[in-house]
């Protein structure tokens, strides 16, 4: 029962506490306007290069932008605590680590889903793409899966945050790599073999492919394998993140680096 409380209530309180600075003045330009312009930029680059359809870029970039709230926010659940000098207190509590850290991911996923869905709808409307009405629910599911998958990667980044102090730099690199490797703007077949091979183990790759198929009229059943693969990749990062988090926690105590800014 205590673990359930820590998971839901603790997660919500932590999110409110760590992101109290996320006012509409910051949220709107960062999470609502920026992804729409990212979509527009790549749509026009695509038109200029005579590359892919508008739909290709809208789907890819809307889903990829979930990585900003998910990866950045998840890693900030550790970096933010350290910045506020509360990380030591959190880790000194007897609370189970699994509900403690995973509970923080729920609001992060919800935010990622909202940002991604908003970018998809607004970007799609501006550019004028057509998505079958029957695909809306399935696309929503894929967006949730992608946001969860990115949050798994965020947990890994959060764990690294106990050792690497420049988490913002690290997350920017992660964002850039996802932009290049995951087929967001360039089809995987156009990338060198080693890049498309690596992309299979990255979050978003399978989700973006599934969303593109759904947007062109494929059924949910036909992309079940891709959604499953996306979930598997996300879960793998989540487990790796959790294990690394526990390891880094022990290391930080041993080396007395927990509060080092």
């Amino acid at each position: 029962m205590s673990s359930v409380r820590i998971f839901f209530i603790g997660g919500a309180i932590a999110y409110r506490g760590l992101f109290n600075w996320l006012s509409p003045w910051i949220f709107v330009p960062t999470f609502l306007v920026a992804p729409v312009f990212q979509i527009l930029l790549f749509v026009y680059i695509g038109r200029s290069a005579h590359a892919q359809s508008d739909e290709f870029y809208v789907v890819g970039n809307a889903l990829q932008y979930a990585s900003i709230p998910c990866v950045f926010a998840m890693s900030n659940t550790i970096a933010g605590e350290r910045f506020q000098k509360t990380l030591g207190y959190i880790l000194a509590t007897p609370a189970g680590r699994l509900p403690l850290f995973l509970g923080r991911s729920l609001p992060v996923i919800a935010n990622g889903v909202f940002v991604s869905a908003f970018a998809f709808v607004v970007g799609g409307l501006i550019v004028g793409i057509h998505v079958p009405g029957s695909a809306v629910g399935s696309l929503g599911l894929v967006i949730v899966v992608c946001a969860a998958s990115c949050t798994g990667l965020g947990l890994l980044s959060a764990a690294l945050g106990l050792r690497v102090r420049e988490t913002a730099t690290l997350n920017n690199i992660v964002f850039g790599l996802l932009l290049v490797f995951c087929g967001t703007n360039v089809p995987l077949r156009e990338l060198p073999g080693w890049m498309s091979f690596l992309s299979q183990g990255m979050p978003l790759t399978h989700g973006i492919e599934a969303a593109r198929k759904l947007a062109t009229g494929h059924s949910l059943g036909s992309v079940g394998g891709l959604i499953g693969a996306e979930l598997l990749v996300g879960a793998s990062y989540g487990v790796a993140g959790y294990v690394l988090l526990r390891f880094m926690e022990v290391q930080s105590r041993r080396l007395a680096t927990l509060e080092t800014q």
Binding site: V28, P29, T30, A34, I45, R47, A49, E166, N172, L179
Partner: protein, 256 residues
Amino acid sequence: MKLARLIWVGLVFRVKELTRSGLFVFTAVIEPLIFATLTYYLFNAGSKPETVIYSALGAGMMGIWTSTLFASGGAISWQRWQGTLELLVASPPPFLLVIFPLTLGSATIGLYSLTATLAWERLVFGLPFDPVHLGQFVLAVPMLIFALGALGLVLATSFVLYRNANALSNMLEFPVWLATGVIVPLSLLPGWTSWIGWTLSPTWGFRALRNSVFGGDVWGPIGLSLALSTAYFAIAWVLMGIFERRARERATLSLV
């Protein structure tokens, strides 16, 4: 003489300060390489692969704007976080002249981006870089830096009054890339956006740089870029006066 010293010392200080920041080095060097790689494959995948060479220079110029945007915005925010903003405002020189070299320094760091991108594309993708007018290219680069620094200065003025204005940095990176035609021809965009692009000095700075590399008129764009940058400086002077007074009245200068 004092003014020249102020600008030189501010510029050198800013360049040193920025090269110590891991986040900024990423923004200035790594991010442009990511975009250069992306645009290379994107244009290569299209049915007009001959445009790859244009996109290569475009990616380098995108990096200069990114550096300027984040560092110019940060110029005020970082002073605020470090508790030195009030001291700078209270110092004898006009505050705008204190901030201008900081934004100029930010744009200068953008040279890293341009150089890194061009070197990356030469070494990794084998794209040639043979400017048609080398002399004019050398002149166009500082003109572009001045244009970007002046635009950064206008943006920076808002940071004096609005503490959350750094969120603008997150929003303005892609729109300016679009509006200035740095990577996509302005003719592809809706007609009304051309008007915005023409009023942005970097549009002409980028055009001068592009023409110096691929051929075309360089002096006209340089002149327009210089004229608009001077106008930006005047606008920033007026805005800074208003914002600084209001920030003093509201006592918000030191609020983080």
